[in-house]
Amino acid sequence: MKNTIKVQRAIKDITQAQLAEIIGVSRQTISAIEKNKYVPSTVLALKLARYFEVPVESVFELTEED
């Protein structure tokens, strides 16, 4: 799975730490998701999409391996 969190963050102009605080997770979690080291739960994915005001599919996308 790949994601566009970094891009979405740039659009909103916020840091990993700020996003983490808004969503209620640790900064490490945001960082791990951006680097594709961690696949978030559905709840977390939906929270991120809600904050970015886009559908969840435009933040997360399946890749060949999934």
Partner: protein
């Protein structure tokens, strides 16, 4: 999410103090020849005890006992549980996953060592392995988990 069975973050510092104290005293006992009477003897209620000479079991017998070894074990167990299982400041799903994988890893390593010791270590040295093995599952977990956390910090 279901119950995590974790303890509140505020106890973690207390846990470190107890654990470090227990480890320092434990190492002093094991490697520097300080014995269990070092701080004196106090009466204990032994629910089950056995006399060395006759091998008779005694139940609910009060006896004096050097308490340093008991103190070390209690400190390491309480401290280890607190350090290992107090929540991190923000305990989220990613950290829970690292916690779980560290726990699995430490159980494997701990029992791997015990498995080898069962086959290749005998008599008193095996007893020593068993004594250490009581604590190593917690210690391996704590080390592994904190190394993983540190790695995640650098992401």
């Amino acid at each position: 999410m279901g119950k995590s069975y974790l303890l509140p973050h505020r106890f973690k510092k207390t846990g470190w103090v107890l654990l470090v104290l227990g480890l320092v005293l434990g190492i002093a006992m094991r490697f520097f020849g300080i014995d269990s009477d070092y701080f004196g003897r106090i009466p204990f209620l032994g629910i089950v005890t056995e006399s060395f000479l006759t091998s008779n079991k005694h139940f609910f017998k009060v006896a004096e006992n050097g308490f340093l070894d008991e103190l070390v074990a209690v400190l390491i167990i309480l401290g280890g549980i607190l350090v290992g299982f107090c929540k991190t400041k923000i305990e989220d799903e990613f950290i829970l996953q690292m916690r779980l994988s560290s726990l699995v890893w430490s159980v494997y390593v701990n029992y791997g060592i015990l498995f080898l010791a069962v086959l290749f270590v005998f008599d008193m040295p095996f007893f020593d392995v068993m004594v250490l093995n009581m604590f190593t599952v917690l210690l391996f977990f704590i080390i592994r988990f904190h190394v993983q956390l540190r790695k995640a910090n650098r992401l």
